[in-house]
Symmetry: C2
Subunit: 324 residues, 2 copies
């Protein structure tokens, strides 16, 4: 790297808006230097978004900047972490200043909102893709792992499910809705998911396990089952569907999106009976609904889907980058 690239990075990504006390050295050396506060565990996750695979070629750069961070924040939320630092590896086919300006403006707006700091990165030429490395902090011993669920624990999800998948189907012209306001609202659910950071933090002392729903409830709950060595009964009648979904699509289509559409970035978490009463205090004031959708069982029962009390089978699968 030399002049041109450094100038590019300096101009658009080297703007330190929030200077966190735990950042000893941010952008501008061989490594960033960070001081983790005492009695805090560090949570690290990384995600890659590739053009044509994870985002559509014509996505607005502001939406991409927002979503790339939101997707990674969602991983922190699922652990109950406080967002802290970000690294950004950006691969671009060319220098398009308007694109970079819109992307970075949007990214920094979110970074400010979450009091995060961009601490490093790499800008390279190539097919457009984005890899974020996200770092959060959790009080020691309080992380929400996938492995803590036990038979009898109640299964909850935040928000409503399936709207993001409906929004994607609209963007891809697989379905259509005549009302432009409804059309826009669903697309926004796909492009601008709200990572459930506050909910994750509030669940630190209550939930036995948690995961964020990126691949669809069935696939992601499956990871909790596997990690915890449990089965589960999932009550399909209880799925939280938005009124938008109910009003404009068939119950079958809505349910399919809710169970396997993916990219909801809501939290799926399990709560022991003894903590169920405390949930209202912890989550009630945060303005996002949460719904009990089932109960953990023993491993031998596997995953059972119930509709009006009867076990049903659905041919559903999550999103797989190589099998799809």
């Amino acid at each position: 790297m030399a002049c041109g690239e450094f100038e590019l990075i300096a101009r658009y990504f080297n703007r330190v808006t929030s200077s966190r006390r735990d950042v000893e050295k941010g952008i501008g050396d061989d490594c960033a230097l960070l001081n983790v506060p005492e009695k805090r565990t560090l949570a690290i996750s990384t995600d890659t978004l590739v053009e044509g695979v994870h985002f559509l070629r014509d996505i607005h750069p502001a939406d991409l900047g927002y979503k790339a961070l939101a997707v990674n924040l969602s991983d922190l939320a699922a652990m109950g972490a406080d967002p802290a630092w970000l690294t950004l590896a950006l691969t671009l086919p060319d220098i398009d200043e308007a694109w970079i300006a819109a992307f970075s403006d949007s990214l920094f707006e979110s970074l400010d909102y979450y009091d995060m700091q961009l601490i490093g990165g790499d800008t390279t030429r190539g097919p457009r893709s984005i890899t974020l490395g996200i770092h959060g902090l959790i009080p020691a011993g309080k992380a929400l792992k996938r492995s803590g669920a036990r038979p009898g624990d109640w299964i909850f999800v935040t928000g409503t499910l399936g709207d993001s998948a409906a929004g994607l189907a609209l963007l891809q012209h697989h379905v259509r809705i005549d009302d432009p306001a409804v059309h826009e609202a669903l697309i926004k659910r796909h492009l601008r998911p709200m990572p459930r950071i506050l909910q994750g933090q509030a669940l630190r002392n209550l939930a036995s396990a948690a995961i964020d729903i990126s691949d669809g409830l069935i696939a992601d709950l499956g990871h909790i089952l596997q990690a915890s060595g449990c089965g589960a009964r999932l009550n399909l009648d209880a799925m939280p569907l938005s009124s938008t979904l109910r009003d404009h699509f068939t119950p079958e289509q809505s349910l399919r999106w809710a169970l396997s559409g993916g990219e909801d970035y809501e939290l799926c978490f399990t709560v022991p009976e003894i903590n169920r009463g405390a949930l209202d205090v912890a989550l009630g004031h945060l303005g996002v609904p949460y719904t009990c959708v089932g109960q953990m069982t023993s491993e031998s029962e596997g995953l059972v889907l119930l509709q009006q009390g009867d076990a049903v089978k659905l041919n559903l699968k999550g999103f797989d980058h190589f099998d799809s």
Copy 2:
């Protein structure tokens, strides 16, 4: 992500060979969980390697696995850090099991060697590229920054410079050498650089500034000058050139590669006069030569290149991904 991709990751990347005590949770949850020891500063760096830009299309996957890690380790070395954890974001056009096996075998061999642990990642489909996030630990206050050099400090480099650039020129058929052993040796310098981790650690209490040479000595020393607010005199007659380079290429060609070829992954560091005597004790037993190539001056002098005592000008530039 669902079955196929998870199986792929599980089979090749989920082999925990070294289980570090500071890793509370590695691969397999929404985030990895790490506990930074007391009085340690965390060093973080990220680098992307794109096919056709940073590595040749026909590179052997074992060489790529080695070099991707070595390049990132070199950033840790330049800070004086102990290697600790790695995240791997791997984008592949398809599932080629032989490729993945060779790549991951090579990567894990290096991880073992440095007692590092792979703590997470993301495997996606797309044009081949690799983004590594590397994490190291440094005794608090001992990091080697670019900004600590002062006028009068001596400028050193480890190893020999320019061999990697000669190796790349051979791989690209821009030059040729008839002796197959020499040919192979130079190509190895390009494909298998040795990150100077031990040297970086040994310099923690001696060097005033350090950087690793990825873009060529001129470009990277320039970063120290800028960050430290200094100028420098660089003695071109002192450049450490390997006997291979001297024997097979003209002095002009060799010097050009040494100054601006890049990808040497040697360290360039500055040492105050008072610490110069201690260098032999610190570096002498590590088996890699180190050479004094100049001295820091005041900022107003800028960077001066000296040949046989006279200031000379060379038309040289480092590697720039967008200007090239």
